[in-house]
Protein backbone atom coordinates (compact mmCIF):
# COMPACT_ATOMS: atom_id res chain seq x y z
CA UNK A 1 0.00 0.00 0.00
CA UNK A 2 1.33 3.41 -1.01
CA UNK A 3 0.27 5.25 2.14
CA UNK A 4 2.22 2.94 4.43
CA UNK A 5 5.38 5.13 4.68
CA UNK A 6 3.24 8.26 5.18
CA UNK A 7 1.67 6.71 8.25
CA UNK A 8 5.13 6.14 9.69
CA UNK A 9 6.05 9.78 9.17
CA UNK A 10 2.78 10.93 10.67
CA UNK A 11 3.35 8.69 13.66
CA UNK A 12 6.75 10.28 14.29
CA UNK A 13 5.27 13.73 13.85
CA UNK A 14 2.46 13.05 16.32
CA UNK A 15 4.98 11.72 18.84
CA UNK A 16 7.09 14.87 18.41
CA UNK A 17 3.99 17.02 18.84
CA UNK A 18 3.08 15.17 22.03
CA UNK A 19 6.64 15.59 23.37
CA UNK A 20 6.44 19.29 22.65
CA UNK A 21 3.11 19.76 24.43
CA UNK A 22 4.25 17.58 27.33
CA UNK A 23 7.44 19.60 27.70
CA UNK A 24 5.58 22.90 27.69
CA UNK A 25 3.07 21.75 30.25
CA UNK A 26 5.37 20.00 32.73
CA UNK A 27 8.75 21.75 32.52
CA UNK A 28 9.46 24.80 34.66
CA UNK A 29 12.72 25.93 33.07
CA UNK A 30 12.17 28.59 30.43
CA UNK A 31 14.93 27.15 28.23
CA UNK A 32 13.43 23.69 28.29
CA UNK A 33 10.06 25.20 27.38
CA UNK A 34 11.73 26.94 24.43
CA UNK A 35 13.16 23.58 23.30
CA UNK A 36 9.69 22.07 23.60
CA UNK A 37 8.30 24.77 21.31
CA UNK A 38 11.06 24.05 18.77
CA UNK A 39 10.15 20.36 18.80
CA UNK A 40 6.51 21.30 18.29
CA UNK A 41 7.34 23.41 15.24
CA UNK A 42 9.55 20.67 13.81
CA UNK A 43 6.72 18.17 14.07
CA UNK A 44 4.68 20.49 11.83
CA UNK A 45 7.60 20.76 9.39
CA UNK A 46 7.83 16.97 9.17
CA UNK A 47 4.12 16.90 8.38
CA UNK A 48 4.48 19.44 5.59
CA UNK A 49 7.28 17.57 3.89
CA UNK A 50 5.69 14.13 4.30
CA UNK A 51 2.31 15.30 2.99
CA UNK A 52 3.92 16.88 -0.06
CA UNK A 53 5.97 13.77 -0.82
CA UNK A 54 3.17 11.21 -0.51
CA UNK A 55 -0.13 13.01 -1.10
CA UNK A 56 0.57 16.01 -3.29
CA UNK A 57 3.82 15.23 -5.15
CA UNK A 58 3.18 17.82 -7.86
CA UNK A 59 2.88 20.79 -5.50
CA UNK A 60 5.76 22.55 -3.77
CA UNK A 61 3.63 24.50 -1.28
CA UNK A 62 4.45 22.09 1.52
CA UNK A 63 8.19 22.43 1.11
CA UNK A 64 7.87 26.20 0.81
CA UNK A 65 5.85 26.31 4.02
CA UNK A 66 8.44 24.16 5.77
CA UNK A 67 11.19 26.58 4.70
CA UNK A 68 9.17 29.55 5.95
CA UNK A 69 8.40 27.88 9.22
CA UNK A 70 12.08 26.99 9.80
CA UNK A 71 13.11 30.62 9.35
CA UNK A 72 10.24 31.88 11.50
CA UNK A 73 11.19 29.41 14.23
CA UNK A 74 14.75 30.72 14.07
CA UNK A 75 13.52 34.31 14.46
CA UNK A 76 11.34 33.28 17.35
CA UNK A 77 14.18 31.41 19.06
CA UNK A 78 16.46 34.44 18.71
CA UNK A 79 13.93 36.73 20.36
CA UNK A 80 13.09 34.10 22.97
CA UNK A 81 16.71 33.54 23.96
CA UNK A 82 17.22 37.29 24.27
CA UNK A 83 14.20 37.57 26.56
CA UNK A 84 15.32 34.60 28.66
CA UNK A 85 18.81 36.13 28.87
CA UNK A 86 17.32 39.39 30.15
CA UNK A 87 15.41 37.47 32.80
CA UNK A 88 18.54 35.56 33.78
CA UNK A 89 20.56 38.77 34.19
CA UNK A 90 17.97 40.07 36.60
CA UNK A 91 17.24 36.95 38.62
CA UNK A 92 20.15 34.55 38.03
CA UNK A 93 17.52 31.91 37.35
CA UNK A 94 15.11 31.04 34.53
CA UNK A 95 12.65 28.91 36.48
CA UNK A 96 9.20 30.06 35.37
CA UNK A 97 7.48 28.76 38.49
CA UNK A 98 9.70 31.10 40.56
CA UNK A 99 8.74 34.11 38.44
CA UNK A 100 5.49 35.16 40.05
CA UNK A 101 5.65 38.82 40.94
CA UNK A 102 2.39 39.44 39.13
CA UNK A 103 -0.54 38.07 41.05
CA UNK A 104 -4.20 38.97 41.12
Amino acid sequence: MILEPLVNYLFVSVVLFAIGVYGLVTKKNALRMLFAVEILINSANLNFVAFTRYLHPTSVTGQALAMFSISLAAAEAAVGLAIILAVFRLRKDVDVSEIKGLRG
Binding site: F17, G20, L24, A30, M33, L34, V37, L40, I41, S43, A44, N45, N47, F48, F51, L55, H56, S59, T61, G62, A64, L65, F68, S69, L72, A75, E76, V79, G80, A82, I83, I84, A86, V87, R89, L90, R91, V96, I99, K100, G101, L102, G104
Partner: protein
Amino acid sequence: MSTVFYYAAIFTVSSMLVSMLSLSRSSSVRQSIPFFVSLAALLLSLTLTLFKMLNYLSAPSPIYTNLFHEDFLAYFFALTVLLVSLFVVLSSRNYMWGERNLAVYFSLLLFSTLGMVLLSFAADLLMIVVAWELMSIPTYVLAGLRKSDPFSNEASVKYFLLGAFSSGILLYAISLTYGLTGTTNLNAVLQNLQQLPNPLDPIAILMLALYIAGFGLKMSVVPFHMWIPDAYEGAPTTISAFLSAGTKKAGFVVAIRVFVVALPFLSVNWTTAFAILALATMTLGNIAALTQRSVSRMLAYSSIAQAGYLLIGFAVASGPAKTLGLIGVLFHVFNHAVMQSAAFLAVAAVDRAIGKVGLDSFASLWRRMPITALSLAVALLALAGIPPLNGFWSKLVLFTAAIQGDMAWLAVAAVLNSALSLGYYAWVIKRMYIDEPTGLGAQSKIREPTLISAVLLIATAITIVVGIYPSLIYDLAKAAVLAYQ
Protein backbone atom coordinates in the same frame (compact mmCIF):
# COMPACT_ATOMS: atom_id res chain seq x y z
CA MET B 1 -0.23 48.16 -7.92
CA SER B 2 -1.93 46.45 -5.06
CA THR B 3 -2.74 48.35 -1.88
CA VAL B 4 -0.97 45.83 0.34
CA PHE B 5 2.26 46.76 -1.41
CA TYR B 6 1.81 50.38 -0.36
CA TYR B 7 1.28 49.43 3.28
CA ALA B 8 4.33 47.18 3.20
CA ALA B 9 6.43 49.93 1.62
CA ILE B 10 5.30 52.63 4.07
CA PHE B 11 5.89 50.55 7.16
CA THR B 12 9.08 48.81 6.11
CA VAL B 13 10.77 52.04 5.04
CA SER B 14 9.66 53.98 8.10
CA SER B 15 10.57 51.32 10.65
CA MET B 16 13.95 50.70 9.02
CA LEU B 17 14.56 54.44 9.18
CA VAL B 18 13.49 54.57 12.81
CA SER B 19 15.66 51.64 13.82
CA MET B 20 18.67 53.24 12.14
CA LEU B 21 18.04 56.41 14.17
CA SER B 22 18.76 54.45 17.33
CA LEU B 23 22.42 54.53 16.28
CA SER B 24 22.48 58.32 16.28
CA ARG B 25 24.75 60.09 18.77
CA SER B 26 22.38 62.97 19.39
CA SER B 27 19.90 62.12 22.09
CA SER B 28 17.32 64.55 20.74
CA VAL B 29 17.35 62.64 17.43
CA ARG B 30 16.91 59.36 19.25
CA GLN B 31 14.08 60.75 21.37
CA SER B 32 12.03 62.80 18.92
CA ILE B 33 12.50 61.82 15.29
CA PRO B 34 11.27 58.20 15.74
CA PHE B 35 7.98 59.52 17.08
CA PHE B 36 7.43 61.88 14.17
CA VAL B 37 8.39 59.29 11.56
CA SER B 38 6.01 56.73 13.08
CA LEU B 39 3.27 59.31 13.26
CA ALA B 40 3.77 60.22 9.61
CA ALA B 41 3.73 56.55 8.54
CA LEU B 42 0.52 55.88 10.45
CA LEU B 43 -1.25 59.01 9.22
CA LEU B 44 -0.23 58.20 5.65
CA SER B 45 -1.53 54.65 5.84
CA LEU B 46 -4.73 55.75 7.61
CA THR B 47 -5.36 58.24 4.81
CA LEU B 48 -4.72 55.52 2.26
CA THR B 49 -7.18 53.20 4.02
CA LEU B 50 -9.90 55.83 4.28
CA PHE B 51 -9.39 56.79 0.63
CA LYS B 52 -9.66 53.15 -0.46
CA MET B 53 -12.75 52.65 1.69
CA LEU B 54 -14.51 55.65 0.16
CA ASN B 55 -13.58 54.41 -3.31
CA TYR B 56 -14.87 50.99 -2.45
CA LEU B 57 -18.18 52.31 -1.14
CA SER B 58 -18.86 54.22 -4.35
CA ALA B 59 -17.75 51.36 -6.62
CA PRO B 60 -17.08 47.96 -5.00
CA SER B 61 -13.95 46.56 -6.57
CA PRO B 62 -12.46 43.73 -4.53
CA ILE B 63 -9.10 42.50 -5.77
CA TYR B 64 -8.35 38.83 -5.20
CA THR B 65 -4.83 37.59 -5.59
CA ASN B 66 -3.39 34.32 -4.39
CA LEU B 67 -2.04 35.74 -1.17
CA PHE B 68 -4.35 38.68 -0.40
CA HIS B 69 -8.04 39.51 -0.52
CA GLU B 70 -8.42 43.26 -0.80
CA ASP B 71 -12.07 43.43 0.16
CA PHE B 72 -13.99 45.68 2.49
CA LEU B 73 -13.55 43.30 5.43
CA ALA B 74 -9.79 43.78 5.16
CA TYR B 75 -10.09 47.56 4.94
CA PHE B 76 -12.40 47.64 7.95
CA PHE B 77 -9.92 45.74 10.11
CA ALA B 78 -6.97 47.69 8.72
CA LEU B 79 -8.75 50.90 9.73
CA THR B 80 -9.36 49.57 13.24
CA VAL B 81 -5.80 48.41 13.90
CA LEU B 82 -4.26 51.53 12.36
CA LEU B 83 -6.45 53.70 14.58
CA VAL B 84 -5.30 51.76 17.64
CA SER B 85 -1.65 52.07 16.58
CA LEU B 86 -2.10 55.79 16.09
CA PHE B 87 -3.53 56.12 19.61
CA VAL B 88 -0.67 54.09 21.02
CA VAL B 89 2.06 55.98 19.16
CA LEU B 90 0.65 59.36 20.21
CA SER B 91 0.40 58.30 23.85
CA SER B 92 3.85 56.73 23.83
CA ARG B 93 5.29 60.17 23.21
CA ASN B 94 4.25 61.05 26.78
CA TYR B 95 4.28 57.66 28.43
CA MET B 96 7.67 56.40 27.23
CA TRP B 97 9.39 59.80 27.34
CA GLY B 98 12.94 59.41 28.61
CA GLU B 99 13.18 55.64 28.13
CA ARG B 100 16.44 54.45 26.67
CA ASN B 101 15.39 52.41 23.64
CA LEU B 102 12.78 54.73 22.22
CA ALA B 103 13.80 54.27 18.57
CA VAL B 104 13.68 50.50 18.94
CA TYR B 105 10.29 50.81 20.59
CA PHE B 106 8.74 52.76 17.72
CA SER B 107 10.39 50.60 15.11
CA LEU B 108 8.99 47.41 16.64
CA LEU B 109 5.60 49.04 17.01
CA LEU B 110 5.57 49.82 13.28
CA PHE B 111 6.62 46.28 12.34
CA SER B 112 3.90 44.81 14.50
CA THR B 113 1.35 47.18 12.96
CA LEU B 114 2.42 46.04 9.50
CA GLY B 115 1.89 42.45 10.64
CA MET B 116 -1.65 43.26 11.78
CA VAL B 117 -2.47 45.06 8.53
CA LEU B 118 -1.12 42.17 6.43
CA LEU B 119 -3.13 39.79 8.58
CA SER B 120 -6.32 41.68 7.72
CA PHE B 121 -5.65 41.12 4.03
CA ALA B 122 -4.13 37.64 4.15
CA ALA B 123 -6.04 34.94 2.28
CA ASP B 124 -3.46 32.19 2.20
CA LEU B 125 -2.35 30.12 5.17
CA LEU B 126 1.29 30.74 4.27
CA MET B 127 0.72 34.50 4.36
CA ILE B 128 -1.25 34.13 7.58
CA VAL B 129 1.67 32.39 9.29
CA VAL B 130 4.19 34.98 8.16
CA ALA B 131 1.98 37.95 9.08
CA TRP B 132 1.07 36.31 12.39
CA GLU B 133 4.74 36.05 13.34
CA LEU B 134 5.48 39.55 12.07
CA MET B 135 2.73 40.78 14.37
CA SER B 136 3.73 38.64 17.37
CA ILE B 137 7.53 38.63 17.54
CA PRO B 138 7.91 42.43 17.99
CA THR B 139 5.30 42.42 20.74
CA TYR B 140 7.27 39.86 22.79
CA VAL B 141 10.13 42.35 22.86
CA LEU B 142 7.85 45.33 23.44
CA ALA B 143 6.31 43.68 26.50
CA GLY B 144 9.79 43.26 27.99
CA LEU B 145 11.19 46.58 26.86
CA ARG B 146 11.99 47.71 30.40
CA LYS B 147 14.85 45.32 30.86
CA SER B 148 15.56 46.27 34.46
CA ASP B 149 11.94 46.00 35.59
CA PRO B 150 11.25 42.46 36.88
CA PHE B 151 7.52 42.75 36.14
CA SER B 152 8.15 43.73 32.54
CA ASN B 153 10.53 40.78 32.19
CA GLU B 154 8.03 38.40 33.68
CA ALA B 155 5.28 39.61 31.36
CA SER B 156 7.57 39.20 28.41
CA VAL B 157 8.76 35.67 29.19
CA LYS B 158 5.25 34.40 29.91
CA TYR B 159 3.83 36.07 26.82
CA PHE B 160 6.67 34.75 24.69
CA LEU B 161 6.34 31.12 25.79
CA LEU B 162 2.58 31.06 25.27
CA GLY B 163 2.85 33.01 22.03
CA ALA B 164 5.45 30.62 20.62
CA PHE B 165 3.26 27.72 21.72
CA SER B 166 0.34 29.23 19.82
CA SER B 167 2.36 29.61 16.61
CA GLY B 168 3.57 26.02 16.92
CA ILE B 169 0.01 24.76 17.29
CA LEU B 170 -1.11 26.96 14.42
CA LEU B 171 1.60 25.52 12.16
CA TYR B 172 0.54 21.98 13.03
CA ALA B 173 -3.09 22.82 12.25
CA ILE B 174 -2.03 24.30 8.91
CA SER B 175 0.00 21.19 8.11
CA LEU B 176 -3.13 19.10 8.68
CA THR B 177 -5.16 21.43 6.44
CA TYR B 178 -2.51 21.07 3.78
CA GLY B 179 -2.57 17.30 4.14
CA LEU B 180 -6.37 17.16 3.80
CA THR B 181 -6.70 19.57 0.88
CA GLY B 182 -3.31 19.85 -0.82
CA THR B 183 -3.44 23.63 -0.83
CA THR B 184 -3.04 26.60 1.47
CA ASN B 185 -5.18 29.10 -0.41
CA LEU B 186 -8.32 29.65 1.63
CA ASN B 187 -10.69 29.57 -1.36
CA ALA B 188 -9.13 26.37 -2.65
CA VAL B 189 -9.32 24.90 0.86
CA LEU B 190 -13.04 25.68 0.84
CA GLN B 191 -13.54 23.85 -2.47
CA ASN B 192 -11.37 20.86 -1.68
CA LEU B 193 -12.87 20.30 1.74
CA GLN B 194 -16.30 19.79 0.19
CA GLN B 195 -14.99 16.60 -1.37
CA LEU B 196 -14.22 15.26 2.07
CA PRO B 197 -16.46 12.22 2.66
CA ASN B 198 -17.50 13.15 6.16
CA PRO B 199 -17.33 16.41 8.13
CA LEU B 200 -16.72 14.40 11.30
CA ASP B 201 -13.43 13.11 9.96
CA PRO B 202 -11.13 12.72 12.99
CA ILE B 203 -8.25 14.61 11.35
CA ALA B 204 -10.62 17.47 10.53
CA ILE B 205 -11.77 17.59 14.14
CA LEU B 206 -8.17 17.62 15.40
CA MET B 207 -7.38 20.37 12.91
CA LEU B 208 -10.31 22.49 14.15
CA ALA B 209 -9.34 21.99 17.78
CA LEU B 210 -5.77 23.09 17.01
CA TYR B 211 -6.97 26.14 15.08
CA ILE B 212 -9.20 27.14 17.98
CA ALA B 213 -6.32 26.69 20.46
CA GLY B 214 -3.83 28.52 18.24
CA PHE B 215 -6.03 31.51 17.53
CA GLY B 216 -7.60 31.32 20.98
CA LEU B 217 -4.27 32.06 22.64
CA LYS B 218 -4.18 35.43 20.88
CA MET B 219 -7.91 36.05 21.06
CA SER B 220 -7.85 35.37 24.84
CA VAL B 221 -10.43 32.59 24.76
CA VAL B 222 -10.81 31.07 28.18
CA PRO B 223 -8.82 27.90 28.58
CA PHE B 224 -5.93 29.71 26.85
CA HIS B 225 -6.14 33.03 28.68
CA MET B 226 -3.64 32.44 31.53
CA TRP B 227 -0.95 34.73 30.13
CA ILE B 228 -3.25 37.69 29.49
CA PRO B 229 -3.49 39.28 32.97
CA ASP B 230 0.24 38.88 33.66
CA ALA B 231 1.29 40.22 30.28
CA TYR B 232 -1.10 43.18 30.36
CA GLU B 233 -0.16 44.12 33.90
CA GLY B 234 3.60 43.77 33.54
CA ALA B 235 4.08 45.25 30.07
CA PRO B 236 4.34 49.03 29.60
CA THR B 237 0.71 50.17 29.72
CA THR B 238 0.71 51.56 26.17
CA ILE B 239 1.76 48.10 25.01
CA SER B 240 -1.11 46.57 26.99
CA ALA B 241 -3.44 48.84 25.04
CA PHE B 242 -1.75 47.74 21.82
CA LEU B 243 -2.05 44.04 22.68
CA SER B 244 -5.61 44.22 23.91
CA ALA B 245 -7.04 46.54 21.28
CA GLY B 246 -4.75 45.72 18.36
CA THR B 247 -3.20 42.27 18.10
CA LYS B 248 -6.21 40.60 19.65
CA LYS B 249 -8.43 42.11 16.93
CA ALA B 250 -6.09 40.78 14.27
CA GLY B 251 -6.66 37.34 15.81
CA PHE B 252 -10.37 37.81 15.21
CA VAL B 253 -10.04 38.73 11.54
CA VAL B 254 -7.96 35.62 10.82
CA ALA B 255 -10.47 33.53 12.73
CA ILE B 256 -13.26 34.95 10.53
CA ARG B 257 -11.30 34.20 7.38
CA VAL B 258 -10.33 30.69 8.44
CA PHE B 259 -13.50 29.45 10.14
CA VAL B 260 -16.30 31.30 8.38
CA VAL B 261 -14.79 31.64 4.91
CA ALA B 262 -12.68 28.51 4.52
CA LEU B 263 -14.13 25.92 6.87
CA PRO B 264 -17.95 26.37 6.81
CA PHE B 265 -18.17 22.75 5.68
CA LEU B 266 -16.99 21.69 9.14
CA SER B 267 -19.31 24.09 10.97
CA VAL B 268 -21.17 21.23 12.68
CA ASN B 269 -18.07 20.89 14.76
CA TRP B 270 -17.15 24.47 15.50
CA THR B 271 -20.41 26.28 16.18
CA THR B 272 -21.13 24.42 19.42
CA ALA B 273 -17.49 24.70 20.47
CA PHE B 274 -17.61 28.47 20.00
CA ALA B 275 -20.90 28.77 21.90
CA ILE B 276 -19.44 26.94 24.90
CA LEU B 277 -16.18 28.91 24.71
CA ALA B 278 -18.13 32.18 24.50
CA LEU B 279 -20.05 31.32 27.65
CA ALA B 280 -16.92 30.20 29.54
CA THR B 281 -14.87 33.19 28.37
CA MET B 282 -17.30 35.91 29.36
CA THR B 283 -18.30 34.32 32.66
CA LEU B 284 -14.78 33.61 33.85
CA GLY B 285 -13.47 36.96 32.64
CA ASN B 286 -16.15 38.89 34.49
CA ILE B 287 -15.96 36.90 37.71
CA ALA B 288 -12.17 37.15 37.86
CA ALA B 289 -12.32 40.88 37.11
CA LEU B 290 -14.53 41.42 40.15
CA THR B 291 -11.78 40.36 42.54
CA GLN B 292 -8.84 42.39 41.16
CA ARG B 293 -7.03 45.07 43.13
CA SER B 294 -5.07 46.59 40.25
CA VAL B 295 -6.91 48.50 37.56
CA SER B 296 -4.77 47.28 34.67
CA ARG B 297 -5.28 43.68 35.78
CA MET B 298 -9.02 44.30 36.03
CA LEU B 299 -8.98 45.71 32.50
CA ALA B 300 -7.12 42.60 31.32
CA TYR B 301 -9.88 40.36 32.67
CA SER B 302 -12.52 42.68 31.24
CA SER B 303 -10.77 42.35 27.89
CA ILE B 304 -11.11 38.56 28.21
CA ALA B 305 -14.81 38.94 28.96
CA GLN B 306 -15.27 41.13 25.88
CA ALA B 307 -13.68 38.39 23.75
CA GLY B 308 -16.47 36.17 25.05
CA TYR B 309 -19.13 38.52 23.66
CA LEU B 310 -17.31 38.56 20.32
CA LEU B 311 -17.32 34.76 20.16
CA ILE B 312 -21.14 34.82 20.12
CA GLY B 313 -20.85 36.06 16.55
CA PHE B 314 -18.79 32.98 15.65
CA ALA B 315 -21.21 30.65 17.41
CA VAL B 316 -24.09 31.77 15.17
CA ALA B 317 -21.96 32.09 12.04
CA SER B 318 -23.30 29.00 10.30
CA GLY B 319 -27.00 29.42 11.01
CA PRO B 320 -29.71 31.81 9.89
CA ALA B 321 -28.19 34.69 11.85
CA LYS B 322 -24.83 34.44 10.10
CA THR B 323 -24.86 37.93 8.57
CA LEU B 324 -26.10 39.66 11.70
CA GLY B 325 -23.63 37.77 13.89
CA LEU B 326 -20.67 38.76 11.75
CA ILE B 327 -21.82 42.37 11.55
CA GLY B 328 -21.98 42.26 15.34
CA VAL B 329 -18.42 40.91 15.53
CA LEU B 330 -17.05 43.65 13.28
CA PHE B 331 -19.03 46.38 15.00
CA HIS B 332 -17.93 45.23 18.44
CA VAL B 333 -14.33 44.81 17.30
CA PHE B 334 -14.23 48.46 16.28
CA ASN B 335 -15.99 49.67 19.41
CA HIS B 336 -13.96 47.49 21.72
CA ALA B 337 -10.73 48.67 20.11
CA VAL B 338 -11.67 52.29 20.84
CA MET B 339 -13.02 51.73 24.37
CA GLN B 340 -10.32 49.36 25.52
CA SER B 341 -7.45 51.45 24.21
CA ALA B 342 -9.00 54.53 25.86
CA ALA B 343 -9.25 52.68 29.17
CA PHE B 344 -5.69 51.38 29.06
CA LEU B 345 -4.29 54.72 27.94
CA ALA B 346 -6.10 56.48 30.78
CA VAL B 347 -4.38 54.05 33.13
CA ALA B 348 -1.12 54.87 31.35
CA ALA B 349 -1.72 58.57 32.05
CA VAL B 350 -2.28 57.83 35.74
CA ASP B 351 0.78 55.60 35.79
CA ARG B 352 2.90 58.32 34.24
CA ALA B 353 1.56 61.13 36.44
CA ILE B 354 1.20 59.38 39.80
CA GLY B 355 3.57 56.47 39.37
CA LYS B 356 1.38 53.59 40.47
CA VAL B 357 -1.93 52.12 39.37
CA GLY B 358 -3.31 50.53 42.52
CA LEU B 359 -6.93 51.40 43.20
CA ASP B 360 -5.78 54.02 45.71
CA SER B 361 -4.27 56.18 42.98
CA PHE B 362 -7.73 56.51 41.49
CA ALA B 363 -9.39 57.94 44.59
CA SER B 364 -11.12 61.20 43.64
CA LEU B 365 -9.15 61.30 40.42
CA TRP B 366 -11.63 63.74 38.90
CA ARG B 367 -10.22 66.55 41.00
CA ARG B 368 -6.64 65.77 40.11
CA MET B 369 -6.89 64.70 36.45
CA PRO B 370 -10.36 65.68 35.17
CA ILE B 371 -9.87 64.72 31.50
CA THR B 372 -8.39 61.32 32.31
CA ALA B 373 -11.10 60.57 34.86
CA LEU B 374 -13.89 61.57 32.49
CA SER B 375 -12.50 59.55 29.59
CA LEU B 376 -11.92 56.50 31.76
CA ALA B 377 -15.46 56.75 33.12
CA VAL B 378 -16.95 57.00 29.63
CA ALA B 379 -14.81 54.11 28.37
CA LEU B 380 -15.79 51.91 31.31
CA LEU B 381 -19.49 52.71 30.91
CA ALA B 382 -19.21 51.91 27.20
CA LEU B 383 -17.47 48.62 28.00
CA ALA B 384 -20.31 47.77 30.36
CA GLY B 385 -22.77 48.51 27.55
CA ILE B 386 -24.65 51.48 28.97
CA PRO B 387 -26.82 53.25 26.36
CA PRO B 388 -26.33 55.55 24.54
CA LEU B 389 -22.63 54.69 24.19
CA ASN B 390 -21.17 52.65 21.35
CA GLY B 391 -20.67 49.45 23.37
CA PHE B 392 -24.41 49.19 23.92
CA TRP B 393 -25.25 49.02 20.22
CA SER B 394 -22.67 46.43 19.24
CA LYS B 395 -23.65 44.24 22.17
CA LEU B 396 -27.28 44.65 21.14
CA VAL B 397 -26.46 43.43 17.63
CA LEU B 398 -24.52 40.43 18.98
CA PHE B 399 -27.23 39.44 21.45
CA THR B 400 -29.97 39.83 18.82
CA ALA B 401 -27.93 37.58 16.55
CA ALA B 402 -27.75 34.98 19.32
CA ILE B 403 -31.54 35.02 19.69
CA GLN B 404 -32.11 34.79 15.93
CA GLY B 405 -29.59 31.96 15.72
CA ASP B 406 -31.59 29.81 18.17
CA MET B 407 -29.13 30.38 20.98
CA ALA B 408 -31.35 32.35 23.32
CA TRP B 409 -29.56 30.81 26.32
CA LEU B 410 -26.35 32.40 25.15
CA ALA B 411 -28.04 35.79 24.83
CA VAL B 412 -29.47 35.47 28.35
CA ALA B 413 -26.06 34.52 29.74
CA ALA B 414 -24.46 37.46 27.93
CA VAL B 415 -27.00 39.94 29.30
CA LEU B 416 -26.50 38.62 32.83
CA ASN B 417 -22.75 38.90 32.32
CA SER B 418 -23.08 42.50 31.18
CA ALA B 419 -24.98 43.29 34.35
CA LEU B 420 -22.30 41.56 36.41
CA SER B 421 -19.56 43.49 34.66
CA LEU B 422 -21.15 46.78 35.67
CA GLY B 423 -20.22 45.74 39.22
CA TYR B 424 -16.48 46.26 38.77
CA TYR B 425 -16.68 49.04 36.19
CA ALA B 426 -18.92 51.07 38.49
CA TRP B 427 -16.56 50.41 41.37
CA VAL B 428 -13.71 52.18 39.60
CA ILE B 429 -16.00 55.06 38.66
CA LYS B 430 -17.15 55.36 42.28
CA ARG B 431 -13.50 55.39 43.29
CA MET B 432 -12.76 58.24 40.91
CA TYR B 433 -15.79 60.42 41.59
CA ILE B 434 -17.04 59.72 45.10
CA ASP B 435 -14.29 58.34 47.35
CA GLU B 436 -12.21 60.81 49.32
CA PRO B 437 -8.47 60.59 48.68
CA THR B 438 -6.13 59.24 51.31
CA GLY B 439 -2.64 60.49 52.01
CA LEU B 440 -0.84 63.78 51.83
CA GLY B 441 -0.89 65.85 48.66
CA ALA B 442 -3.52 63.61 47.14
CA GLN B 443 -5.80 66.61 46.63
CA SER B 444 -3.53 68.66 44.42
CA LYS B 445 -4.18 68.94 40.72
CA ILE B 446 -1.71 67.17 38.46
CA ARG B 447 -0.68 68.34 35.03
CA GLU B 448 -2.11 65.78 32.63
CA PRO B 449 0.13 64.43 29.84
CA THR B 450 -0.91 66.50 26.80
CA LEU B 451 -0.89 63.93 24.03
CA ILE B 452 -2.49 61.18 26.09
CA SER B 453 -5.26 63.62 27.03
CA ALA B 454 -5.75 64.47 23.36
CA VAL B 455 -5.99 60.78 22.45
CA LEU B 456 -8.41 60.19 25.31
CA LEU B 457 -10.61 63.06 24.15
CA ILE B 458 -10.64 61.72 20.59
CA ALA B 459 -11.53 58.22 21.81
CA THR B 460 -14.26 59.60 24.06
CA ALA B 461 -15.65 61.61 21.16
CA ILE B 462 -15.72 58.49 18.97
CA THR B 463 -17.42 56.53 21.76
CA ILE B 464 -20.16 59.14 22.17
CA VAL B 465 -20.66 59.97 18.49
CA VAL B 466 -20.91 56.31 17.49
CA GLY B 467 -23.24 55.85 20.45
CA ILE B 468 -25.58 58.55 19.12
CA TYR B 469 -25.24 57.63 15.44
CA PRO B 470 -24.48 53.88 15.54
CA SER B 471 -25.23 53.60 11.82
CA LEU B 472 -21.88 55.28 11.05
CA ILE B 473 -19.91 52.15 11.87
CA TYR B 474 -22.77 49.67 11.59
CA ASP B 475 -23.15 50.45 7.89
CA LEU B 476 -19.44 49.99 7.30
CA ALA B 477 -19.51 46.65 9.11
CA LYS B 478 -22.56 45.62 7.09
CA ALA B 479 -20.85 46.54 3.84
CA ALA B 480 -17.81 44.54 4.91
CA VAL B 481 -19.82 41.43 5.74
CA LEU B 482 -22.03 41.58 2.67
CA ALA B 483 -19.03 42.12 0.41
CA TYR B 484 -17.62 38.64 0.61
CA GLN B 485 -20.83 36.63 0.82
